[in-house]
Structures are given as C-alpha cells and as structure tokens.
C-alpha cells in the first residue's frame, strides 16, 4: 500500500488529532455547538494545516542546515502566525465570500496547538520525510480534526433536546461526550495496514 494512503487513514482515524492526540481541544469544545460553524472551523484547519506543513517543512531544512533544530517551536509559531495573517489579507481581497465563511476562525487558528503539532510531527514522526508526505499528513490531520468536530457538533445538536440532569448541562456533559468519543476512537488503534 502506498505510504500516503497509510498517512491519510492514520491522520483521520488512528491518530486523530483531537481524539487520540488530544491536541486542539479548545476549538473542539468551543466551536462545536452548531454543525455549520464546526464545518467552517474544520475547513479552515484543513487549509491552514496543509499550507503550514509545506512551509514549515521547508523551513526545517534550513534549521537543520544551520544546526539549530532546537528553535523549531519558536520558528514554527512565528511562521504559522505570519502565514495566516498573509493568507487572511489575500483572501479578504480576492475571495470575500470565503473570507466571511471562514470568518473569525482563520485568525483563531494562529495559535492553535494542533497546527503547531502537525508541523512538528512532520519533521519528527514521519517515517518517510518529503514535502509531499508532509502535505498529505497535514491535510489528513485537518480532515481528522474536521471529522471529530462534525461528530461532536452533531451530538451536541441532538443533546439540546435531550433530558440532561441539571448539573451536567453545558460543559460537563460535553467533556463526558468527548471522553466517550475518544474511547470509541481507540478501536482504530488496532487497525493493521
């Protein structure tokens, strides 16, 4: 099986960013109240993760060349933040409809740990390291994030109408739901490819 298919399945199911790596929990809990907003956030994350993977992979080569890999975190944060600013400016100018669709989520992603996580894992965890695989890993991780967001939003929309004990309403029941979802996703850990 080609390596990129393995990366896609791993990114979406086995090593799902939210449910098995526990990164990006903040938007996962915060923006999952409605399916539409969850989808908007998810699409923005896919987009940013894909672009950020390519750019940070290239930059990492520079860092390796100068033998200063310990600066990865700080450089990646700088680059991702700047990148998103640039993308936002360009989108606002040329695709106003996309800009309103992504809305506030695009700048929110600037400091998202999931994006930083995928950038760092691209250069530390991937077995075969090329720009292409880094890109695929980024997009697949974003899709995994979107999947988790959508499932969560769907459950929360249904939960609006269910009879929840008073003390569990709101945040507590959301956390419980998230943990049950995470347990369900551990089933994918046994997937042999």
């Amino acid at each position: 099986m080609p390596y990129w298919i393995y990366l896609v399945i791993s990114g979406i199911f086995v090593n799902n960013f939210v449910l098995s790596r526990f990164l990006g929990i903040c938007p996962f809990l915060g923006v999952s109240r409605k399916t539409e907003t969850a989808l908007g956030m998810g699409l923005a994350v896919i987009f940013v993760m894909g672009v950020a993977s390519v750019i940070t992979y290239g930059l990492n080569l520079l860092l390796v060349l100068a033998d200063i890999e310990y600066l990865q975190t700080i450089v990646f944060i700088l680059v991702i933040a700047a990148l998103i600013q640039l993308i936002e400016i360009v989108i606002k100018r040329f695709a106003p409809s996309l800009y309103t669709a992504l809305g506030v989520y695009l700048p929110l992603i600037t400091t998202n740990c999931a994006v930083l996580g995928v950038a760092i894992m691209n250069v530390t965890e991937l077995a075969k390291q090329t720009v292409f695989y880094a890109f695929i890993n980024g997009v697949a991780s974003g899709m995994g994030f979107t999947l988790a967001m959508l499932i969560m939003a769907g459950i929360r929309e249904r939960m609006e109408f269910s009879d929840i004990p008073e003390r569990f309403k709101g945040f507590p029941i959301t956390l419980i739901t998230a943990s049950i979802m995470a347990m369900a996703f551990t089933a994918f850990a046994g997937l042999s490819l």
Binding site: L62, L63, A66, I68, L71, I74, V75, L78, V79, A82, Q85, L86, I89, V90, K92, R93, F94, P96
Partner: protein, 262 residues
Amino acid sequence: MFIIIPVSILTGLAIFFGILIAVFSKKFEVPTNQMVEEVLSNLSGANCGACGYAGCEDFANALVAGEASLALCNATSKEGKTKIGELLGTDASILDTTVVCACNGGNQCEDKYDYQGYGDCKSVELLAGGRKTCPSGCMGMSTCVAGCPSHAIEIIQGVAVIDNNKCTNCGVCILQCPKNLMKRIPTDKYYYVACSTPLTGKNVRVNCKAGCIGCSICSKVCPEGAITMVNNLPVIDYSKCTNCGICASKCPSKCILKRNEN
C-alpha cells in the same frame, strides 16, 4: 558564534515576515466604504444596541446595505437622521420621540406586601406580580435607573421620573421595565397619561390616589377631540394634540401630566 547564527536567523525571519505583512496589507488593501463612515459619524455613537445590531458600526453597515431601517435607532438626533437620510437617499421624515413613564403612583399607590429581598424590579415582579396593589404600578426599585446609559431617570416619591433633557431616547428602559410603563411620545408634545392601570374606577380609588378612574372628562374637554377612552384609560392622539393643557388641568385625579422638561 553559536548564539549569533540562531539570533540572526530568527530576527531575519521576523523582519522578513513583518515587511511581507506590511507590503501585503498595503497592496491588497480592501477599500473601506466611505458611505459607512459618514453614516457612522452621524449616528449617536451611544452603542446601546437597542436597534438589535452589535453597536453603531454594525448598524451603519446594515443601513448602507439597506438591511436596516433608520427608525430602529432612537438615540440619534433628528439632525443626524436627516443627514443620514440625505446620504442614503431614503425617507428621513421620522418622528422624533422621547420617553415618559406612564405611572404616577409610587408612594400614593398601596403596597400589597413589604418586600425585603434583592432590590430589583424584575425580581419583585416574580413575587406575586410585583409589590403594588395596582398590577401595572411602578415599583420604584430602580431597574430602569440602573439601565439608563445617560442617567436620565430618578426615583422620586417611589416612582420613576425621566428627565427629558437628558434622555437620548435609546429605549433601554423600555426593554427593562417589567411593567412596560415606559412609553414614547413625540418631542414636540408635552402632555401624557401617567397611568396604565387595568383596574376600573372604584378599584383604582381604593388602591391608588394618583390612578386614572376612567371618568373620561379629559376626552370631553379636549377642544381638538384628540383623546379617546380605551379600556377605561385615555389615549391621546398626538397628531391632533396642540399642547393646550386643558386635559391636565381638568383631570380630577391629576394623572395627565406635563413632561418633565424646561
């Protein structure tokens, strides 16, 4: 040497991205709508949110987009609205209004019980429909006073009194009052009915010395025929009212008042 390389690389990157962002934001600048800015400068700037939009800027955007009506804003002055009407080419003949409290009971109205809880009209209202024997009597617990952004409301003798010199007509008190006593009247009319009681004659007399007993003398003495009786309460048709004040002088229970203004 080993510290110079990382520092210079990081600084270089930061400067590079800084310049890139500066260039991009200049090159791909989205032209802001001049119209929105001009409309915004003519709005009151109270940011009260009574129009249903998130502040004056949001409202200005909606106005220019044609999604909102200028009538939604009550805080903006007549001059401002006229200018906005000219800018947008829409009708600016919007009635300028101010707010009055349609109750003059207060201490003259009997208490149903002695309230000792948290002091707020809304919480008193939850307890057996308020502490006054009149179902629509001002309880004087200052919910409107606390809400008023321009400090125009005072509780005098147990009843809310609005200083119409200070009132910006934003409508916050209208939304806050649990008894719905705050009413809008045109700024160029001075007389208003200061009672909203649903009770009838005898019951009003028993409960409140300042209440309307529904005698309909005002409707008979009004030379313009501007007053009609609806549900035992006078209703003034302000398109006919000439500010003569005869109704107020003839009212036996003194519940038609002149507005509190210089």
